[in-house]
Amino acid sequence: MPQFESHFFSSLIFWEVLSFGILFFLLYKYAFPGLLGMLEEREKKIKDSLDQAERHRSEAERRLKEYEAKLATAAKDAEALLAQAKERAQRLMEENEQRMTADAERIKGDATREIETERRKAIQDIRSQTTDLAMMVAEKVVGRALTEGDHRRLADEALDALAKSYQSRN
């Protein structure tokens, strides 16, 4: 094989080492720092962007939680307020009802008493007028034979009998 011809070995070794050395020096000095730096810079930028996005996301999440909590509190407050209002309305209604019942009761009682009083008075009036009327009639019929007291006694007796018969009829 021509590759084993040792005549070229010294030349190839020399030029290989020299070429590699020069290439290494050139790349080491002028290419790799820029390229690696660029990669690192981009990596850093991407990482920063991701970090920032992550920060924004967690911030948004935190805000959302905050709002949700606020919303829940507001809902609870509203519920409590509503319950309170309902309770108060209920109480007012009950109070009103009680008061109105009592009023009605009182008015009814008053009216009953008044009616009773009026009735008594009416009965009294009727009785006294009837007595007077009866006396007048009796005077016309009997003349002045009976005294004022007799008239009255007789009329009362008649009326009592009338009232009794009336009551027993009812």
Partner: protein, 249 residues
Amino acid sequence: MEESPLHAFELHDLIPLVPAGVDISINKAVILMWVIVGLVAFLMISAAAARKLVPGKLQNMAELIVEFIRGIILDTMGEAGMKYFPLIATLFLFILFANLLGLIPGSYTVTSQIIVTAVFAVGIYGLSLVLGFSLHGMKFLGILVPPGTPGWLLPLMIPIELISQLARPISLAVRLFANMTAGHVILGVLFGLAISGGLLIGWLPFAFTIAMNGLEVGIAFIQAYIFTVLSCVYLGDAVTLHGHSEHAH
């Protein structure tokens, strides 16, 4: 005209140079080395000069290569290995461009010379030994004893490990040289067939030549990659020594 398939590997002194009795005559391989240095330096330096946050095509390609080599180093040596990035990257680029430029008809495959691959392999292996002894002192001889070896196995293990260590530079050099040589021999044979076959049948081996050339591009990449990965593994072994110092950091 019948040509030996090995004809493509022959070198001839173009400009004889023998200063102080050392023959450093210029031949085709040497010129290809210069081309490699010029091309790689031009591409990488102009890519680095762009320094744009949103890279252009050249910068993108250069960054792809840099990222690729960084990945190899981080996988095999860890963060501490980034110290050797310039060396590994230069090695990869030199071998890759040597392999690729050799595929251009009429040029020369530098890496098909056993002495060229041997210099790289011995250089890397020698560097790993120097690093190993300077970082770990005599403890570096522990590389011959895999962790967890029982004492009575030592007389057996040490020779085996010694042989495997010595095989490292040899296999590194021969793998690259043999792959490059074989590929070009096959290309040469197929092309020879295409020429001697004439128009009637010659198109078949010629089509194979084209297909093989595509395959050879892949092999050029793969062999550069393998050489680089193994170099990283050997250096990493020396730097971390059974991964001990990696835990210590």
